[in-house]
Amino acid sequence: MAVSPSLSPSLSPSSSPSNSPSKSPSSSPSSSPSTSYSPSKSPSASPSSSPSLSPSKSPSRSPSLSPSYSPSASPSPSYSPSISPSASPSESTAVVNTEYGYEITGVTGLTKIYAGTLRVKALAFLGDDDHDTCALTTQVNGVPVSCYKFKTHSTDNTPPTSYVYFGERGVPMTGLMANIDDAQSILFIFIR
């Protein structure tokens, strides 16, 4: 089947974040840890995007889609987009570049992780509460498209139950962004 001409916003949140290559040091592929990182993951970390964003919420979504897809989409009104279209991606210092990849915490809402292409070996999510969520997207023709979703079980703060391994070679992910609904949750990205 050909790609459906009606790319639902449910697959491509209509936010149009600009993954500027000139983003924060956290986007650097270098392995130098951020000196500003606080291992205490203070709850006072300031979310740089709307704190009200929740992947489980269904705000009014603009059906604006990639030009490569027809605007005739019939977005499901019940779908909860992983990324609110009203969100502006955060250039947050909550994204910490580490020797193994990235750690993201202390932020809610849409957060840029890296504007370029990463080879992701594994993802893990440590939700702070039951049913915390983390929705990840990659760029497809300039549009963020869902590439993974996490939702914690009743056993929160247990990353071993919320991870995925993509193999030693990893998978390519360009313009990776995350939408975390709890500032105390932590997303780990292990790159090749």
Partner: protein, 104 residues
């Protein structure tokens, strides 16, 4: 119905939305490294088939169990070399389910 929406990405395919009819992921042969399913509801299902001698044959199934929209609970890794699937087809039970297929 035309099946659910499919988007071809750099890492593979994501399917979901629009409707719940069987949707061909790829009519040819693809090498799948991993799959993950984010069901939008408890007991959401995703059934996958591939072509065996011209007949669609089950090759995998997912069913959520109370932790909907958590793909990490429902994923499978086939190794870096992946496994071949010809005419891989998926049927999702809910329009807002998500199926992720990562190619080698």
């Amino acid at each position: 119905m035309a099946g659910c929406t499919k988007v071809h990405t750099e890492w593979g395919y994501v399917l979901g939305g629009v409707d719940t009819d069987a949707t061909a992921v790829d009519a040819g042969k693809i090498w799948v490294k991993a799959m993950a399913f984010a069901g939008n509801a408890d007991d959401a299902t995703c059934s996958l088939t591939n072509d065996v001698g011209g007949t669609a044959t089950t090759c995998y199934k997912f069913k959520t169990d109370g932790n909907d929209l958590d793909a990490s609970s429902y994923h499978v890794f086939f190794g870096d070399a992946g496994v071949p699937f010809t005419n891989l087809t998926a049927t999702l039970s809910h329009v807002n389910d998500r199926l992720y297929i990562y190619l080698r």
